[in-house]
């Protein structure tokens, strides 16, 4: 039984499932480091997924769909930036509003454009980057089967997420942008008095998180599922925020935390067939990733301390 569960595709699935979480979580990290809470990631993912899918349906090009998903994420996050940076509203309220707007807007446009609620027609998806077959036999063949299965079987955005995690992490600690970003969420007035615009820094960060949220949505619809379905982000935007916290507000940490949640999700799917053996309802298995999230947030990490001024609007003078 164990050898049926512990297979290359369990770990491959973990990487796959981690990808949308990681992209959104890194977006959350960048946003919160700048001092803006982005609870809207869930809605941004949904918007990105919808407009991405709609583009593929209209043009047949998955890559164009990815691009539009990113742009849609940027556009909707601009609303959050105006509200939280310029108008200094409560960022949780603004984020919640965007989440509700995303649900309503995507549902409405489903009806308007496709004449029905629920799920769109299937779309052509992005295909795996490599297509290696089996190689060799015996022990070496087995090793190759694992390497190929776990690491070389993926679609482009799965690899993109890994590069983005490493790249943004490096940038956060080695570039001007990164230094200013880290300072922004801690002590915006210090940034201001050093002659750097707080509003601009926060705008850039919010838009970046929108782009990454949109990319996460594209991964979900254009790479993984191959359709858009109303509300199919299913709380992933919130799990991403949890991953950001678990990852201590760093991109690589966010990625690794997402990997844990992704693994829980993959395991849950693997365990589904065994429910006849242990006689549990399917919902029990579906619950696993969420339970892991709660347990991790409540217990394992202890008290995580985020940027000091996160969620506090900055007022000049």
């Amino acid at each position: 039984m164990l050898s049926d569960i512990i297979t290359p595709d369990l770990f491959a699935a973990a990487l796959r499932m981690a990808t949308p979480l990681a992209l959104a979580a890194i977006g959350g990290t960048i946003c919160e480091r700048s001092g803006v809470v982005n609870i809207a990631l869930e809605g941004i993912m949904l918007i990105g997924a919808f407009f991405g899918t709609a583009t593929v349906l209209a043009t047949g090009s998955p890559w164009l769909g990815v691009l539009v998903a990113v742009l849609a994420g940027v556009a909707i996050s601009a609303v959050h930036a105006v509200a939280s940076v310029n108008l200094r509203t409560d960022q949780v309220v603004s984020g919640t509003a965007i989440n509700l707007l995303a649900l309503g807007l995507t549902g409405f446009l489903m009806e308007l454009w496709y004449g029905h609620p629920g799920t769109t027609q299937p779309i052509p998806t992005l295909q795996p980057v490599f297509g290696f077959g089996a190689m060799g036999d015996g022990f070496l063949g087995e090793v190759w089967r694992w390497i190929n299965g776990v690491f070389l079987s993926h679609t482009p955005l799965v690899y993109a997420a890994i590069f983005i995690a490493i790249g943004t992490h490096w940038a956060m600690y080695h570039t001007k942008w990164g230094l200013r970003l880290r300072a922004l969420g801690e002590h915006p007035r210090a940034v201001d008095t050093a002659g750097v615009s707080v509003a601009r820094g926060r705008w850039v960060a919010v838009l970046m998180s929108g782009a990454l949220g949109g990319l996460a949505g594209a991964n979900l619809s254009i790479e993984q599922v191959g359709v858009f379905q109303e509300g199919f982000t299913n709380g992933r935007g919130f799990i991403a925020l949890a991953a950001n916290i678990f990852g201590r507000w760093t991109p690589i940490g966010s990625y690794l935390a997402s990997l844990l949640f992704g693994f829980a999700d993959a395991l849950q799917i693997k365990l589904q067939p065994f429910r006849d053996v242990i006689d549990l309802p399917p919902e029990f298995f579906l619950m696993v990733p969420y339970v892991v999230t709660v347990v991790v947030l409540a217990g394992v990490i202890g008290r995580a301390v985020g940027p000091a001024q996160v969620g506090v609007p900055y007022e000049k003078g």
């Binding site: 001007k176 230094l179 210090a190 201001d192 050093a194 002659g195 750097v196």
Partner: protein, 520 residues
């Protein structure tokens, strides 16, 4: 030609003229002290110079050229640096990262950390401001954090340095070091504006003193032409009593009796170590000591905010060793906390609410859990009048008041409750001479009416002017007791820094020279 000149600068906030046609010059290699009470407009004026606020009228000239300073970046470009009263430092970042923030060396957006570290080392070498460039700000003491602020301004190329109340957060030792730093900066060609409300500081460090009151310049003097009494009069606009006369002590019954008290700190280290003393009615007992020698923990144990490890605290025969904050208030302990923002006030509450805190459950302010706004309002109005709290209304929120008036709110509430024992921890921290005089009068009035007062202060002058008995606390123990007549600043300073028990520390004894808020 002056490096910086202000001509008739006027800044109006809704309802207040913060700066009224202020003119000021700063020559090269000069230290000008900007002296005035809290709220006199000193910081507003300098925020205008630093580009954080824009003036409504008037002119600013840098090196004789008229300039319109639009932003901090612009001010920095013009060679103006500022060390703010509340530090502009990002705590989790390193010293180097903080210094280079906004002007990072490197190319294509990538920071050249080695170049940055080298540049920082070079500047700190040149001005004699030693610091570990890789230390995190949160690990540094306040004095060193301020040093980082100065280095940041120098790194940004400041030729004019504005120091906004730089000594407010420093220990006497650190104040002396700061003065030395300021002098060496001037030797290196900088010009300094030094904002303060402490009289003896301007006498010690300034070349020229510009006094502000109510937003306008009311006088300009050189230290050699004046004394502290004259400066105080100029600053406040009336004669100020720097040392209040009081009747000889008439000790009543013992009110507070502390025996063998031991208290641990937050880090679970022994902070108070077997302390015993008494305070009787009609007496002011002062605990003198350098900050961090157990005073905070002692006070917290006394007022029910921290549980003692061992020993006993008795108030008029009642054991309050393990009393909660609530029962300690009910039994008659009032507490003016050392940090009015953290413990003294709820800054987002209005004055009436702040004035009733602690008594809010009790008659006549509440019955059966329902508060009576009318009673609270009339009490608040009375306290505001009695304690001279300058506010248009009791409905104003506490954060909108100046520091001095905020402290009066705390004093009004704690003394107005009519306690048996008043625990006053640094009751005049950050206040100007006028407000200090007021708070001192209130404390002495408590004593006169036969109440017991325990004063905890870092200011030697305050201890000497108020106390009947002085206990010196060092490393959690009472190392020496003086009666008021026996004590002088020098001896106190000697014991406060571990003298007597250990060998004579000459540097430590020296600190009495700068240890007071109001010289006499």
């Amino acid at each position: 030609m002056p490096v910086l000149e202000l001509r008739e600068v006027t800044k109006v906030f809704p309802g207040v003229v913060a700066n009224d046609r202020v003119s000021l010059t700063l020559e090269e290699r000069e230290i000008v002290a900007l002296l005035g009470e809290n709220g006199a407009g000193k910081s507003t004026l300098m925020n205008v110079v630093y580009g954080l606020l824009s003036a409504d009228h008037g002119e600013i000239l840098v090196d004789g050229q008229p300039v319109k300073i639009r932003s901090s970046r612009h001010a920095i470009d013009l060679g103006i640096g500022m060390v703010h009263q509340h530090f502009m430092l990002v705590e989790p970042l390193t010293v180097t990262e903080n210094i280079i923030l906004g002007r990072e060396p490197g190319r294509m957006g990538v920071i050249d950390m080695n170049a940055a570290r080298k540049k920082v080392a070079e500047i700190s070498e040149r001005y004699g401001l030693r610091i570990d460039p890789d230390a995190r700000i949160s690990e540094l003491e306040v004095g060193l954090q301020q040093r980082v602020e100065i280095l940041k301004a120098l790194y940004q190329g400041a030729r004019v340095l504005i120091l906004d109340e730089p000594t407010a957060v420093l220990t006497p030792q650190e104040v002396r070091e700061l003065f030395a730093v300021v002098r060496s900066l001037v030797d290196e060609g900088l010009s300094v504006v030094f904002i303060t409300h402490k009289l003896e500081e301007v006498m010690a460090v300034a070349d020229r003193i510009v006094v502000m009151r109510d937003g306008a310049v009311v006088g300009e003097v050189r230290p050699s032409e004046t004394d502290e009494i004259g400066l105080a009069r100029l600053m406040v606009g009336r004669d100020v009593v720097l040392r209040i006369d009081k009747q000889p002590v008439k000790c009543g019954e013992t009110v507070l009796d502390i025996r063998d008290l031991s208290v641990k700190s937050d880090r679970n280290l022994s902070a108070v170590n077997g302390v015993s003393f008494t305070v009787c009615g009609g007496e002011i007992v002062a605990i003198a000591g350098v900050s961090g020698n157990g005073q905070t923990e002692l006070v917290e144990a006394l007022v029910g905010l921290r549980r003692p490890e061992s020993g006993s605290i008795t108030l008029k025969g009642n054991d309050i060793t393990r009393a909660s904050a609530r029962s300690s208030i009910e039994i008659g302990v009032s507490h003016i906390p050392e940090d009015r923002h953290r413990r003294g006030l709820v800054l987002t509450f209005n004055l009436a609410e702040n004035l009733v805190l602690g008594d809010h459950r009790l008659k006549p302010y509440a019955t059966r859990g329902i508060m009576h706004p009318r009673e609270i309002t009339s009490m608040a109005k009375k306290r505001i009048a009695d304690y001279d709290i300058r506010t248009p209304s009791e409905k104003l929120i506490a954060s909108s008041l100046s520091g001095g008036n905020q402290q009066k709110v705390v004093v009004a509430r704690e003394i107005g409750r009519n306690p048996e024992l008043l625990v006053a921890a640094q009751p005049t921290r950050g206040l100007d001479v006028g407000a200090i005089e007021f708070v001192h009068r209130q404390i002495i009035a408590e004593r006169t009416s036969g109440k017991a007062v325990l004063l905890i202060s870092l200011e030697l002058e305050e201890v000497l002017s108020l106390a009947d008995r002085i206990l010196v606390m060092y490393e959690g123990r009472i190392v020496k007791e003086f009666s008021a007549e026996q004590a002088d600043a020098e001896t106190l300073g000697y014991f406060m820094t571990g003298g007597g028990g250990t060998k004579l520390d000459k540097g430590g004894a020296d600190l009495t020279m700068t240890g007071s808020g109001v010289g006499a």
